[in-house]
Point group: C2
Chain length 278, copies 2
């Protein structure tokens, strides 16, 4: 509902400004113009709020970037990749501030695990990028390259929020592409080898199962209003348990829902699911 959204927005702003731990529930409710009690009608605890806000954005982020990596033409793929990331950070700078400097606020064990899982999903996306864009041109240094790409992304994202500096986004992305190309083409001593890469991502996280995705869609449908998106989602759900539609139709349905904030994640999961099935 509306109240929940309001709280999330205002909270995010305070989180980015002062840090998560330093922001009290009282401050959030004051900023929203509601009472403390009202807050606990929308969220069970402050922890749940934090988790919901971050989870929400991370899912949107991964979904968006993964879409770009899978669907843009190969020629400009790396450029488009950097551009989408930096645009996302720019548009959601409050989130980015918290996300990029994974600051040390207290978070529960379960959320740490969740974050690690997301990190792994994003790693996969970056690997896909490297495979599509560089193909056979990189081999041994593939893992090191992926690590560097994420490093560049974070390093130059700092420019937006640590300091407010006028950035020419086009030039920035071109520069990142140039740097990445250099490292891809000439690295002879990779640090992150395949072995080390595996060590880093200990618990190999599973793909979501068909049933899990169905459940998620079911939950989502209940909160949605009548729309093209909702109808598309219903069709997608039916086709999951009883496949009939052609790839083209499926793709169209996925396209329909991918801009809907709440559907982004489902769209991402489905795309991963179908890619895996093939």
């Amino acid at each position: 509902m509306m109240k929940k959204q309001l709280i999330m927005e205002q909270a995010l702003e305070l989180f980015a400004e002062q840090g998560i731990d330093a922001t009290s529930v009282q401050q959030i409710t004051d900023k929203c113009g509601i009472s403390k009690g009202a807050f606990y009608l929308s969220f069970k605890s402050k922890d749940e709020l934090i988790l919901t806000v971050l989870d929400d954005f991370i899912k949107r982020f991964i979904s968006d970037i993964d879409y770009v990596v899978n669907n843009r033409e190969k020629e400009n793929l790396l450029y488009e990749f950097y551009l989408s990331i930096l645009n996302f950070f720019n548009e959601h700078s409050n989130f980015a501030k918290i996300f990029v400097k994974q600051q040390n606020f207290y978070i529960s064990k379960e959320f740490i695990i969740k974050l690690e899982e997301y990190q792994q999903l994003f790693d996969r996306t970056v690997f896909k990028l490297v495979d599509r864009y560089y193909g056979d041109k990189v081999e041994d240094n593939k893992y090191d390259l992926a690590y560097c790409i994420q490093g560049f992304m974070k390093l130059y994202a700092d420019l937006f929020f640590s300091m407010d500096i006028p950035v020419d986004m086009n030039r920035l992305c071109q520069s990142l592409v140039e740097k990445t190309d250099l490292i891809a083409a000439h690295t002879t001593i990779p640090v992150i080898t395949k072995k080390i890469s595996q060590l880093m991502n200990k618990p190999s996280c599973e793909n979501y199962s068909k049933d899990e995705i169905c459940t998620l869609i079911q939950q989502e449908l209940q909160e949605m209003e009548e729309s093209i998106e909702k109808d598309s989602l219903i069709l997608l759900k039916e086709d999951l348990s009883n496949p009939k539609l052609s790839p083209a139709l499926l793709n169209g349905l996925l396209e329909n829902i991918r801009h809907h904030p709440q559907c982004k994640w489902i769209s991402y999961l489905l795309r991963s699911y179908y890619a895996f099935e093939k």
Copy 2:
């Protein structure tokens, strides 16, 4: 005294484990096996403790790295630079954990300013490195290169503490040198230009004056025991107000004190002072 050192060490451990804000004075005193009152005999406040711990390490870090940049042969300079940094992080991994991910703990305005000043001093050291190692080979991309070097340093430092992964330090440094060389030699689109670099470091921080250094030495002398280091420091102080000694003698005295933890910073300040005078 001993007690103060004990508190600083135990506190740093807890800070790295749980975060600074999440660590209470009670926890620290419990870990030290002393009472809460005893803590306040050594430090005026928790803030003072935090400040002292971080300040102490940052000074040691900058002093060490700056020494390497100024005194090692040019051939292996970049390699030695990365090696010293990563060794320092490795030896003081608790400090590094806090330092590299500049986490969002509450700190006073004055300390933020202090941190920015230190950042600037370190920037200077990196510029010196670039100048000495690459000389005229880099020009336009000098500032971008320095930014990347610091990025590489932080990115790969993560390997030590985010995850505990066996790292071949020699190979790692060679790899970083290779990457840096690539970017130095072939970058045509620098992001961080001279202009942007200046924007980033708004308040140009001054060198310490002769008098300030004298005062610092005076304070230090009172806490030191009789030793070669103390005698050297006395001689250096006399020579500051009344220069007599030859460069060779001065250099020898500076060498004498540079390994003493408490003198490192003074040694750094004096070296910067003399370099500036020339």
